[in-house]
């Protein structure tokens, strides 16, 4: 999908105040937006009359700590329109001070788990999420490992387990 597609134009018109930029790289279009109205925006894309983005292919996040970006985090939505076979990427920037954004779990069925994963690994809260638990890491885990300031080898969680030896049979 190119950046001049009518859906993108309509979207820009409607949410002009919140759209940060529309970029095209290798034939893929990215719309960068501010977070507060993200749910409304995504709903308008899902319910678009001409090109409805009915499938949320993926929902993830990125930590732009060391890159030049409007805010530290971005929640990335990969959208797919089954009808028109078009793909679109929406990036909603979330600040480090208030890492939160609205939940789209009421719009797409798979968003529930994907948002839990983003919360687990990035610590971005999803407001209105029905089940905000960790998903991949243990429930008592501290920290959000995919953040850039989290060490690759962890903080010693790997060695806190009881030890059994052959001599002292339990």
């Amino acid at each position: 999908m190119n950046a001049n597609h009518p859906v993108v134009a309509r979207f820009r018109e409607r949410f002009a105040a919140d759209v940060l930029s529309v970029e095209e790289f290798r034939g893929q279009t990215v719309i960068s937006v501010k977070a507060p109205r993200a749910v409304e925006m995504l709903k308008s894309l899902r319910d678009d009359a001409e090109c409805p983005f009915d499938m949320l292919t993926d929902l993830t996040a990125a930590d732009y700590l060391r890159l030049d970006a409007p805010e530290r985090f971005a929640v990335v939505y990969q959208l797919l329109s089954m009808l028109r076979n078009e793909r679109l990427r929406v990036k909603a920037y979330v600040s480090e001070a208030r890492p939160e954004i609205g939940s789209v779990s009421s719009l797409w069925g798979n968003a529930n788990w994907l948002e839990r994963e983003v919360w687990d690994l990035y610590g971005i809260r999803f407001l209105g999420h029905p089940d905000p638990r960790r998903i991949l890491m243990p429930d008592d885990y501290e920290g959000h490992p995919l953040r850039k300031d989290y060490p690759l080898k962890g903080r010693g969680e790997r060695s806190h387990f009881p030890k059994y030896t052959a001599e002292e049979a339990p």
Partner: protein
């Protein structure tokens, strides 16, 4: 425990919480289900995942693009070739390079062989979980034959690490084509045999038809892709919708089934294997000559023979391998996807212009398909849950990454 109100004339029953897994034969690895059952009926199912969380995405930020290829094997170990190919294609799209025609055809060949290898074992495990153990042993015989083919091209059975950015680790050997020909000739007979065993098997049909139904709308809303989506009646295949490796030039069909139940998934997988055979036959007829690696792009590794015998290749090799060197893509972000046996395998790569990806996200088909699982089993029997689980072919490595 909670008490459910007993209707008039029925016995009052209480629902019970039960744990299945993480170490359980029906869960194929490390899945954990917390189910609330009313007698034999599942009233609520809460899957717990993450038992195999390995930190692929974090590790990728500390590895160069070529170094990630061995890791991509271990992501989905039932179809590592498809992962290798998908990842290499994603990086090539980021770099904007073209691969050679020979490489393209060979990748198609191996991707389809990988798909057969995954589907055949998935059908076998599905049958095993429903009590037909011999099917699993039969399908493993076929998988062993595929392992032989994989070994000739890559040297590895399971973890192939076969692709490189811009090409392949090595060209095929002389015995590759005859081996594949032989396999293609006799494999449809095996499919017939499996169908003979299962299609009219009373136990198998009773436990699959109408079990774990998923409607078209539900499937799309949950982002389900691959055989599961096609079994719900949506003819969506990334090979058609977003052709890569010249898939638009091959003649094949996208099998679908209207029912969306476990039976439909079995039928779709069987039909897909037949289509893969068709693609392989077409690809075998037309393997172009020439190099497998696009050397002129300066992104691909030269082969070992020329590294040892040619000065330029040696310099090129060192430039790519030495610490502090390596190719550096332009800064940018890309989402690229291929049709892996489980569905759409996507890669979202953020490049900051250095040799390592700044952020690498794998869109795991197993994870996203699995989000629909609680919906599918609610109201079903516990034993049906096993059938549904087997039909989804959830690979824990890909689920938890």
């Amino acid at each position: 425990m909670t008490t459910t109100a007993a209707g008039k004339g029925t016995l009052g029953t209480r629902t019970m919480r039960m744990n299945i897994g993480p170490q359980h034969p029906a869960t194929h690895g490390t899945l954990h289900l917390e189910v609330e059952v009313d007698g034999e009926i599942v009233t609520n199912c809460r899957p717990h995942i993450g038992y195999l969380h390995t930190g692929f995405e974090k590790l990728a930020e500390y590895r160069s693009y070529n170094q990630f290829i061995p890791l991509s094997d271990r992501l989905n170990y039932l179809s590592s070739l498809n992962n290798n190919i998908g990842f290499a294609l994603a990086v090539e799209e980021l770099l904007g390079i073209e691969i050679t025609p020979r490489c393209r055809v060979l990748r198609v060949l191996l991707a389809e062989l990988g798909r057969i290898g995954d589907h055949v074992i998935s059908v076998g495990l599905q049958a095993m979980d429903l009590g037909a153990f011999s099917i699993m042993l039969w399908t493993f015989v076929e998988r062993e034959k595929l392992y032989d083919i994989f070994e000739t091209v890559s040297g590895g059975r399971l973890t192939t690490s076969w692709t490189r950015i811009g090409g392949l680790s090595r060209d095929i050997t002389d015995d590759f084509v005859p081996l594949v020909r032989k396999f293609v000739e006799y494999f449809p007979g095996v499919l017939d045999e499996i169908e003979k065993m299962l299609n009219r098997n009373r136990i198998f049909t009773k436990r699959t038809i109408g079990v774990g139904r998923m409607s078209k709308e539900e499937a799309v809303s949950h982002g389900v892709t691959g055989p599961l989506l096609r079994a719900s009646g949506v003819a969506y295949d990334v090979r058609r919708a977003r052709p890569y490796l010249g898939y638009d030039k091959y003649d094949f069909e996208i099998p679908t089934h209207p029912d969306g139940d476990v039976w439909a998934r079995y039928r779709v997988r069987m039909a897909e294997m037949r289509q893969s055979i068709r693609i392989i036959e077409q690809a075998l007829e037309n393997i172009p000559a020439g190099p497998v690696t696009a050397l002129d792009t300066k992104f691909a590794l030269p082969d070992k023979f020329s590294v040892y015998n040619d000065m330029e290749a040696l310099i090129h090799h060192f430039k790519l391998i030495m610490h502090g060197h390596g190719f550096q893509p332009v800064p940018g972000e890309i989402y690229s996807c291929t049709e892996s046996p489980n569905g759409e395998l996507g890669w979202f790569i953020v490049s900051d212009g250095t040799r390592n990806p700044y952020r690498l996200r794998c869109r795991p088909p197993s994870f996203i398909n699995y989000t629909a699982f609680p919906k599918m089993v609610e109201g079903a029997m516990i034993s049906d849950m096993v059938a549904v689980m087997a039909s989804m072919n959830v690979i824990a490595g890909e689920l938890d990454r």
